[in-house]
């Protein structure tokens, strides 16, 4: 027969043990689920505010009514270098049609690196840092570059998610559909 105190301590210990294990699993599972929730086409994208390197504050909500091409990038990312001139081309060609090009930098070690990159490629559209990776997490990005095209109602455009490098033609395909539906 075991001593009653020993029995109680094993009961308490095992309850505590099971509780800790389940708690850890729930926390990690919730974090994983949250991370796997990516933005879906036809559904509203998360709102955010970004302070650009030019000192402007841009909130996605304020851009409602315009088409937004949102690009996540980093100065250390090689495919982002290939992409930058293409995005600048979209900005130059489509801004007159009410398309806003917006860049958000991810995991930069210093703002100066991003500014050097912007100057190197002569980017004239607004770009700002994702401090604390708040925006990129809400959008569930798993790498850079990633690009999202958001329609005038603040929904992700059909075919408007590019989980990797993108070229101007891909973006134009989506933009033309959106602009055509405006005309119709």
């Amino acid at each position: 027969m075991r001593h009653p105190i020993a029995r109680r301590s094993s009961k308490f210990g095992s309850l505590f043990l099971m509780f800790s294990v389940i708690f850890a699993i729930v926390v990690v599972g919730a974090a994983l689920l949250r991370q796997e929730q990516t933005v879906r086409a036809g559904h509203p994208v998360p709102d955010f505010t970004v302070n650009t390197f030019d000192g402007e504050t841009i909130s996605l909500d304020d851009l409602r009514g315009q088409i937004v091409v949102l690009n996540f990038w980093a100065s250390w990312c090689a495919p982002c270098r290939d992409e930058a001139p293409e995005l600048q081309y979209i900005h130059e060609t489509y801004s007159q049609h009410g398309v806003i090009m917006l860049g958000v930098t991810y995991a930069e070690s210093s703002a100066q690196n991003s500014i050097n990159f912007i100057e190197e490629f002569g980017l004239t559209y607004p770009n700002g840092p994702d401090t604390g990776t708040r925006i990129s997490r809400r959008y569930g990005i798993t790498g850079v570059p990633e690009t999202f095209i958001i329609d005038r109602d603040g929904n992700l455009a059909p075919g408007g998610y590019f989980p990797g490098p993108v070229n101007a033609l891909d973006i134009i395909d989506v933009l033309d559909v959106l602009l055509a539906s405006d005309d119709a």
Binding site: I25, V28, E36, A107, T133, R137
Partner: protein
């Protein structure tokens, strides 16, 4: 043909796992020997099947079968043969298959070595190890198939662009399809990530995998003990050596990873507290705690629940580390890969942890894991081991919190990712490491049962005096910072105690048997490999400690732009002259910018170094030049900067004192572990022997452990 054979053998290995699990369970439950033997044969068969499967992938990599997507993404026609071979673990799909292969090796060896002695445990060992292998093979078969090939529609009139747009991925040829032209495939091959082209990186992943995978065996034995109800020390006896083997490979993996970071990553250090590095350190810490505390169970029949918990935690941390680094749940520069195996890995980790902890709790509540002796006091070997465990678990908790706890819970509860920087680790871990070293300096001198403080004090006189003299010498060399002196003293004490214990073993034999000291030394190492190998490991850890303290506290860092011919004063001893700058093209086609510099020490030219920048598809990689001497490393980097011309460049120089001791200590540690693990030592730990050994309340400090 390669892809088909590779895939089918991989699938057969998976089927063998699925068969072995119920067969072993049925055989154990209803005492049907035939079924258990059949399950064992299926378990052993996974090894030849996976060897063929991996062999096919290796052949495909070597001959450049670029139709296989994996071959195309890890090699290109310029890749040298050596890197073609190692591309087997260069990316996700291949490394998962390789992981399964290493696991099947361990399982096969466990079946062959432990089959006779541990008959009662073996069916459940098969169940647990096969379940783990089945999971990893399922990932390869269903989600991350390394044999997937690209196919074009077979239609002669179709333009090549249309074919590319309509290409499909499949292992087997789909109907109406053809293989794309070889030249097109070869042109699209990507080659191995340039950062991975380093000797350390080539053998670091396999070592780490062997370490990770190796813990499956002790875990499976522990679970078998819980499942079968054979809760004697059988499972510990069966797994001690397996645990040491896993620990050895994990240590090697960590050391080689550090060496790779030091040589290739170009920041002058070897440990960056990155979540991925920490993920590999966590099972090492808990595994180390287990290796120590399991001795208490062998000698005194205590801490049974705790030991089970430690081995479950070690395995659970291995699975968690794999999951965390491959799912993208943690942002780390290492783990930046899109992967769809996050959820399955999470479910497996959660499932196996819940089942094993559940099984432990069940046996615990039935009173089957009762301790056979009571704790007699802190000043005893078991007391010291308990303290050791507390320190290792505290280290694990602190590092886990910094790498995973804080980032994950802050995202969940605060909607903001809090990543703790190196500063956090540098504040939290040094006191714990110091306590660990202090314990290493005291614990080997205590006896099982209890030691009087008096006796402990007497046995510490020699090592303490030696430490005192050494500290005086260090102070004469000009080290006066109190933190450094304190750190050095605990580490040096730990080292001296290890040497002193070996010395005592030798002198006892010399006195009692009149042996020649060299013969006595050899004899004690042959007679008690485990114990004296352990002291060599302690010595290695102490030497690593000296290296870490020196290179962390006394590192000199200078950055300066120089014209050709300029001389830079680095510290009191070292100067560096910039001689020349050239461009060159490497074997694999990358452009290299190389600087020639001369290292001058106290006015004498001591070395010519060639730090360089490799331009690989616009990704610059800085490769350091290093001049190593016993007391320090002169480590120089060529920094990419705007004013970079062929006559002017920026250099970053580190002088890292004692950094070589980190690698030498690593070698000593490996040697000690091999001595401890080497078979042939008579095993005498039975329950009766344990009781006998525990009878006298104070045993002399030299008692066998």
């Amino acid at each position: 043909m390669l892809a088909e054979i590779g895939f089918i053998t991989m699938l057969l290995a998976f089927v063998a796992c699925l068969y072995a699990i119920p067969a072993a369970l049925y055989g154990a439950r209803y005492n049907r020997e035939g079924w258990v033997v059949s399950a064992r044969n299926a378990a052993i068969a996974t090894f030849p099947l996976l060897i063929i499967s991996c062999g096919m992938l290796v052949i495909a990599l070597m001959v450049g079968d670029y139709q296989i997507n994996y071959v195309r993404s890890t090699t290109d026609p310029n890749t040298p043969d050596f890197y073609r071979f190692t591309a087997l673990w260069g990316s996700q799909q291949g490394s998962l298959l390789f992981w399964s292969l290493t696991m099947s090796v361990f399982i096969m060896l466990a079946m062959l070595i432990n089959w006779r002695r541990e008959r009662r445990l073996m069916p459940y060992v098969i169940v647990y190890s096969m379940a783990t292998l089945a999971f990893f093979l399922a990932l390869s078969v269903f989600l991350e198939n390394p044999f997937e090939r690209v196919w074009f529609p077979a239609n002669d009139t179709m333009a090549i662009q249309t074919k590319i747009a309509n290409a499909v991925d499949s292992t087997f040829a789909p109907p109406n399809s053809e293989a794309p032209p070889q030249s097109l495939l070869a042109n699209n091959a990507q080659g191995l990530n340039p950062l991975l082209r380093h000797f350390g990186m080539i053998i670091h992943p396999p070592m780490l995998y062997l370490g990770f995978v190796g813990f499956t065996i002790p875990f499976a034995f522990a679970m078998a003990a819980l499942a079968s109800g054979d809760l004697s020390t059988n499972w510990i006896r069966a797994t001690r050596r397996w645990t040491l083997v896993a620990w050895l490979f994990l240590s090697l993996g960590l050391i080689l990873g550090g060496r790779w970071a030091y040589d290739v990553l170009g920041w002058g250090g070897y440990w960056g507290w990155d979540p991925v590095e920490n993920a590999a350190l966590l099972p090492w810490l808990v595994g180390t705690a287990f290796l120590h505390s399991v001795m208490i169970q062998e000698k005194r029949g205590m801490l049974k629940v705790w030991n089970m918990l430690l081995i479950i935690s070690t395995f659970s941390l291995v699975m968690f580390a794999t999951f965390a680094t491959r799912s993208g749940i943690i942002s780390s520069v290492h783990s930046f890969a899109r992967s769809n195996i996050g959820m399955p890995m999470f479910l497996f980790w959660a499932g196996i942890t819940l089942v094993s902890v559940g099984l432990l709790v069940w046996r615990w509540n039935r009173g089957e894991l009762r301790d056979e002796h009571h704790f007699t006091g802190w000043v005893s070997r078991e007391g010291m081991f308990v303290l050791n465990n507390i320190i290792f678990i505290a280290l694990t908790a602190a590092i886990f919190w910094g790498s995973f706890g804080a980032p994950i819970s802050s995202v969940l509860f605060l909607d903001e990712e809090i990543t703790l920087s190196t500063e956090y680790y540098m504040r939290v871990t040094p006191p714990l490491f110091a306590a660990m070293y202090l314990l290493m300096g005291v614990a080997p001198l205590t006896a099982w049962g209890a030691t009087s403080l008096n006796r402990l004090g007497r046995s510490m006189i020699v090592p303490l005096s030696l430490t005192g003299f050494t500290m005086l010498a260090i102070m004469l060399f000009g080290v006066t910072a109190p933190v450094a002196l304190l750190a050095y003293s605990v580490v040096i004490l730990a080292g001296y105690v290890a040497l002193y214990e070996i010395g005592r073993g030798v002198s006892a034999r010399v006195k009692t048997r009149g042996e020649n000291p060299l013969v006595a030394l050899l004899t004690i190492f042959t007679r008690n490999r485990r114990r004296y190998g352990g002291y060599i490991v302690h010595l290695g850890i102490a030497v690593i400690g000296l290296g870490v303290i020196g290179s962390t506290l006394f590192q000199v860092e200078r950055q300066q732009s120089l014209n050709v011919g300029d001389v830079m004063q680095v510290d009191a001893d070292y100067q560096m002259r910039f001689d020349n700058m050239t461009d060159a093209i490497a074997e694999d086609g990358r452009l290299m910018t190389i600087a020639d510099i001369t290292v001058i020490r106290n006015g004498r030219e001591v070395a010519q170094l060639r730090p360089r920048i490799d331009h690989f598809e616009q990704m610059p990689m800085t490769i350091a030049g290093a001049h190593s001497t016993f007391e320090n490393d002169f480590y120089v980097l060529l920094i990419p900067s705007e004013e970079f011309t062929f006559t002017r460049a920026t250099f970053k120089v580190y002088v890292n004192p004692l950094v070589n001791l980190v690698w030498w200590g690593g070698l000593i540690l490996i040697l000690g572990t091999i001595i401890s693990t080497w078979p042939g030592q008579p095993r005498k730990v039975t329950s009766a022997a344990r009781d006998q050994s525990a009878m006298p309340p104070t045993r002399p400090a030299t008692a066998n452990i």
